[in-house]
Symmetry: C2
Subunit: 437 residues, 2 copies
């Protein structure tokens, strides 16, 4: 493809969907990329850049000629160029904005100051607005003019003279309506909007629940500031799901399969080292019970069983709590109710597993007290671990702390420690009974 003349290259490359163009572009070496910059107009390059993860484009914008780069940024959807500019350092952003076409720079600046992960950071200001007093025909003419620039034209928002949001009309309803009707008669005045500071996860849920293709964003006085389209929300959903998943596994959300082993190891190691020292602490705890181990060495063989069960059950309960927070179910039900429910669940599972373990250990080792000790430990640790698994993320969420600490391995290690304390605590208390047998 790249040995061809510019004309042939353009013909073939521009036939592709921009997403495929982006995939091809990303795989090229710097030399070839420099060639592509010279072959494509800033507008064509903007389509390519919009289809690359915004975390990955920094090097491309650095290697481009600054004037070309700022033209590309100006041609991109405003929300996408803002995402990219947020990744670059401030000096570079300022220099791009200075070279850039004034109007485009103004649009970008409007969006640059919104906080990350809020509705404001997702929205675009390239949308079509019509006035309640216009006729359907006028609205359609306006829509046709604005269509090439707008992010979506399938929903058009209706504002009053103060730019306050008063209604919404879908293109579907517009094309069905008669030309001389007034927009205010055809529009729906029960328009669902989000406020500019709202969390992006809530925005995603609204979009999913109401099956919208776009959502208007307003300030506290109901002035229309921008719109969020469904394609951006799909990326948010993916991002949030990955985020929760990574935390549960204790991996960095930025780790990807195509990175080198060294990069992967350097991302996983910090976690592993922390867990290593927590594990050392667990070991030192068991060390305190060395006397009990000396007297009844068989105690040692059940350590992984008890710690493992505590870890597993804690992770289950953590996952249900995190998912409940994500779907909003927990807000609805109330935290106390959830913790009581988890406590009861822990009681039922603990009791069941405890009885099974008591029986198995008794038959296997012929020692009823050992069986009861292990069974009782399992029961108690399951109850505690289940409650801890749901309580820790809920408390974190309450205090608006990002529950990174509530990640899977961390909860597992905490539960390991608790279970060891319970097990050896009980063993020391009932040492006499154990030795009698």
């Amino acid at each position: 493809l790249f040995n061809k003349q510019i004309g042939e290259f353009r013909a073939e490359f521009l036939e592709l969907h921009p997403y495929d163009q982006a995939k091809i572009f990303e795989e090229q070496s710097e030399d070839v990329r420099m060639l592509i910059y010279s072959y494509l107009s800033p507008e064509e390059m903007a389509d390519v850049m919009e289809n690359i993860d915004y975390e990955d484009v920094e090097e491309f914008f650095t290697e481009m000629d600054p004037r070309y780069a700022s033209n590309v940024l100006a041609e991109m959807s405003t929300d996408d160029s803002v995402d990219i500019l947020n990744e670059l350092d401030k000096d570079k952003v300022a220099s791009f904005l200075t070279i850039m076409d004034k109007e485009a720079a103004q649009e970008i600046k409007e969006l640059l100051h919104y906080e990350e992960k809020t509705a404001g950071s997702l929205m675009t200001n390239e949308y079509v607005v019509i006035h309640a007093g216009q006729t359907v025909k006028e609205a359609m003419r306006h829509l046709r003019q604005e269509a090439p620039e707008a992010e979506t034209i399938y929903y058009t928002y209706v504002v009053d003279d103060q730019k306050r949001l008063v209604g919404v009309i879908s293109l579907r309803d517009l094309i069905i309506a008669e030309g001389d009707w007034l927009v205010s008669d055809v529009m729906s005045d029960r328009v669902v909007s989000v406020s500019v500071g709202q969390d992006q996860e809530e925005v995603a849920h609204m979009m999913r629940d109401y099956d919208f293709l776009a959502l208007p964003v307003v300030d506290f006085q109901n002035h229309l500031l921008g719109i969020i389209t469904v394609d951006d929300v799909m990326d948010v959903m993916e991002e949030e799901a990955n985020d929760d998943y990574s935390k549960l596994a204790g991996v960095s959300e930025t780790e990807r399969s195509d990175q080198s082993a060294l990069a992967a190891a350097s991302k996983r190691l910090p976690w592993l080292i922390i867990l290593l020292f927590l594990g050392m602490f667990t070991a030192s705890l068991i060390g305190r019970f060395e006397k009990a181990l000396d007297v009844v060495p068989i105690l040692a063989i059940f350590i992984p069983l008890i710690a493992g069960m505590a870890g597993n059950t804690g992770t289950q309960s953590l996952a249900v709590a995190v998912r409940g927070i994500a779907t909003g179910e927990i807000e609805k039900l109330g935290k106390t109710k959830i913790i009581i429910r988890e406590g009861l669940t822990g009681l039922i599972t603990g009791l069941s597993c405890g009885i099974v373990v008591t029986g198995v250990v008794y038959v296997w080792q012929g020692n009823l007290f050992l069986g009861m000790l292990v069974g009782l430990s399992i029961m108690m640790t399951l109850i505690i671990a289940t409650i801890a698994g749901s309580m820790i993320p809920l408390v974190m969420h309450r205090f608006k702390i990002d529950p990174a600490v509530a990640s899977g391995p961390f909860i597992t290690t905490i539960n390991d420690i608790i279970s060891i304390l319970v097990y050896f605590g009980l063993a020391t208390m009932f040492m006499d009974l154990l030795l009698k047998q």
Copy 2:
């Protein structure tokens, strides 16, 4: 709301968005629901039902008058009523289809036989088709007629005389185009489609990557069979993310925060009991090394550390592999490459953690050989656990086995067992060295 006259109720209830109507409806007792059925037409009820999870509606359709129920099903989007019918038992489905309006029943029957979780099961047959030879004006007139029935009109698919898919045109392009142009001149003939048997996860990725609002579904001869809209794909994304998340935590994907403790416990217990017996097996393995434990009881205190580290690192590597499968990165890179990468990652993390542990244990216990034993065990188990964590889901995926077995707690327990074998195996081999100190 429900003490009011039918007129007032209707006025207030129907003003709400169907999603909010559904939320209110779900919270009512059976008596009130029966009243609502009598207040709303099947068409109005269909809007409500479309906004309830299809797993939850069975009881509603059972309590409705059968004729009313089948009218509601007929009025719903075909893809939604098919989802519901798939949840009901076959006799009931047959009886609903018999009472139903013939045309609606026919449309539903067409979709009923597609396999779950494929493109076919997501698609609807309520879409607008135009012919390549029509003019833009004719196409627009046709679109206006069909708009009220169609799932989306923002993309219109273009077919030839044999109903083969030849192009796509967005409503945006249609309204910009001149009325007397031919559809074939305005449409894009590079239309991206999915085949009817394709996995729903792949469909979701295409939709997300290409930012489509709808995708056409074709058979192997490129005949247009239906379309998939973005709102259905958002539900799929949520479902797939939940699915992976639940597996990692070892909880049932159907468990929700609003279920009773007994229901939750009964869903978690099967897993816990299996893990309990695997834990017992681990215990019996350690039992075999009782002699080593008798001679060097200090060995016991490092069991949770080693097993825990193996579990954590295995889960990390499992998560990266599962995510890589989900995003399609792994298909692209090849499985061997991934496993080699994970092996190297395991080597680096293992070596680092091993050295740290050796040092800490040496300083703490004053026994260099014990330190080296624990360090070497950590290193070996980290390498093995990292490889196992990525290999197990990859092998499962290869053989198209649903990797439920590759869930987090299972991998953790397998890695527990391996780590215990490595640790005590090494301890037994180097017993003499340990005792010398």
